[in-house]
Structure formats: C-alpha cells, structure tokens
C-alpha cells in the first residue's frame, strides 16, 4: 500500500510517495548561490544541511510557473535531498482513499500518474527523474570545463 504526501502550489496539486517525503518546513529562508542549475531557485539550510530548492516546471520544461509559497517540502531522491515549494500542504493519504490513473509519458516525464482524491487531481511526481535532470544540468565534457578556466 502506497501512501502519498499531498501539497499544492498555485492551482496545481502534487503527490509524492511518503517514503520520499522527509519533512515540511514553513517560512524558511532561501539563499542564492552562484551558478545554480536552471530550475534551482536557491538553497535552504536545515540542520546544517544545504538543500537545493527547485521549481519542477522549470527543471523539465524550462518555463516557470512558480507562485508564492509558504512551505517547502523536503524530498529524498537518489541524488540527495531536494525541496519543492508548496503554498498549501494537504496531509498524507493512502492510495486506497483515491484512484490512480497512469501519466502521459509524452507530456510530462516527471509525472508518473495522477492521484484522484476528493474531487481533486494531484500529479504524482517522479522525484528521482527530476533529480537526475538536475544532477546532469551544467554537465560539460572535460574540454569545455577547461574552457571555463580559459575564460579567466
């Protein structure tokens, strides 16, 4: 049985498997750093750990739909912890409380399906896919990395 953590950002609802949800923080300061990958809007600090804060839409589609958010949802991925902004958290729900329909892989690779719950639809995020896109962001062959030094 899968349990989902549910949250909203603007008009969009998102679901993540509970085993990937680490914690939810409120009113957390986001810091800027140089040369962050596209889709990373900053980093937060929690328990001396730096966590990249991402805009999921921008990571994959290159277009931001980011709206003001009071919460940050911290998620575990194969590439470490990341955070997603959320305007509202909707709690934890068992998959049996709703229905799941498969995602359209051609439309959004980072959505594995939709979770329908109480007349709302929540996009089920593929956190590992989002993280893999981020981890490869900025990747340059060695020759190009040397080029960065030549810029000096």
């Amino acid at each position: 049985m899968i349990r989902f953590g549910l949250f909203r950002l603007g008009r969009s609802g998102f679901a993540v498997p509970l085993f990937q949800l680490r914690k939810v923080l409120r009113d957390q300061r986001i810091f800027s750093l140089p040369k962050l990958p596209d889709g990373v809007i900053g980093v937060l600090v929690t328990e001396s750990l730096l966590v990249p804060v991402i805009d999921p839409q921008k990571v994959v589609a290159g277009a931001s739909a980011l709206e003001p958010a009071d919460y940050l949802v911290l998620l575990e991925s194969e590439y470490g912890t990341l955070a997603v902004p959320a305007g509202l958290t909707c709690g934890v729900v068992s998959e049996q409380k709703g229905t799941i329909t498969p995602g359209d892989e051609t439309a959004n690779s980072w959505v594995t399906g939709q979770f329908h719950y109480q007349d709302s639809v929540f996009q089920i995020l593929d956190i590992d896919f989002l993280a893999s896109v981020l981890a490869q962001s900025g990747f340059k062959p060695e020759a190009d990395a040397d080029g960065a030094r030549r810029h000096q």
Binding site: L33, P34, Q152
Partner: protein
C-alpha cells in the same frame, strides 16, 4: 602555494567574510596582502583585458597590478559600482593582484564558521567555479578559490 583550505571539507581558522552580488563569500586570510577601499583614484580602466577577466589595472604601491571582478566569473549581478568596491590585494603565482568585492563583513572567529557539504545535485553545475561552502550565522557562504579567478597563464596588465 599551499592550498589555503588544506584538508577537503575543513574550514580554515582565519577567514575574511565578504559579499559579492548579494552572496556571502569566505576567503582564507593567508591569501591577503592588504585590503583597500576608496579606490576610485587607483584604477585605470584603459588596461582592461576582459578576455582574461581583468577589468582594470590597480595602482598598488606604485605598481600596476590586475584587478579581477569575481562577480563576472561567478555570474553574479552586483549593484556596487566598480570604483566603490573594496580591493583585496592577494598573493599570486606571478605577483600581487586585486580581487574586487562589494562589501567586507569582517573576520569572525574560526569556530563561528562551520563546514558545509556541497549538495550532490549542485556539484556538476558549480564545478570549475567553486567547490566548497561554509555556514556563517546560518547563511551558506561560497569559499572563494582565487586560483580559479586568476592563474599563472593570465598576463598582467
């Protein structure tokens, strides 16, 4: 020159805390020869070599040395005019050079700066620009690596 941050992940005991383009930065004091502000009269922009990251020549003790703007290298937007920046005169392989920062925040006791691991997700994107971070008052700070800004292959102004 011995790498100022020695053992990977450790934080040097004496750090200069600065701000560049709104981002907090740390610099090992061992690099620093002198700190200068009110530098408007000491700059000569005719000797800029943008391709080498040299924005101006800086008159330091009657010698012209290269002035480097790390904000350009790091892709940061600074709203401080170049003439209003603070010049950190650093030791280099080929003599002194000037690293320009927006603001000096001080030299705190070493124990107030904690090492902080670079998130794995950011390592690829930041490679070649910076590789270490520290925490000061809960704020992540970039550890400046001067050898990335100005190296032996760069001609002096």
């Amino acid at each position: 020159m011995t790498p100022p941050w020695g053992v990977m992940g450790s934080v040097h005991l004496r750090n200069l805390v600065t701000r560049i383009g709104g981002v907090g930065c740390l610099l090992d004091l061992d690099w620093v020869v002198e700190i200068r502000d009110e530098i408007a009269e000491l700059l000569d922009f005719r000797h800029a070599e943008p391709n080498h990251g040299i924005i101006a020549a800086f008159n330091f003790r009657q010698t012209w040395i290269p002035a480097i703007d790390p904000a350009l290298f790091l892709g940061l937007d600074s709203d401080v005019a170049f003439k209003n920046k603070t010049a950190l005169i650093l030791k280099g392989f080929e003599g002194n050079w000037a690293l320009m920062v927006d603001q000096m925040l001080g030299i705190p006791p070493g124990e107030r700066i904690a090492p902080c691991e670079m998130p794995p997700l950011l390592r690829t994107a930041t490679r070649g620009f910076y590789s270490r971070l520290g925490l000061f008052h809960g704020e992540p700070m970039v550890v400046l690596e001067p050898e990335l800004f100005y190296g032996p292959s760069v001609a002096c102004a």
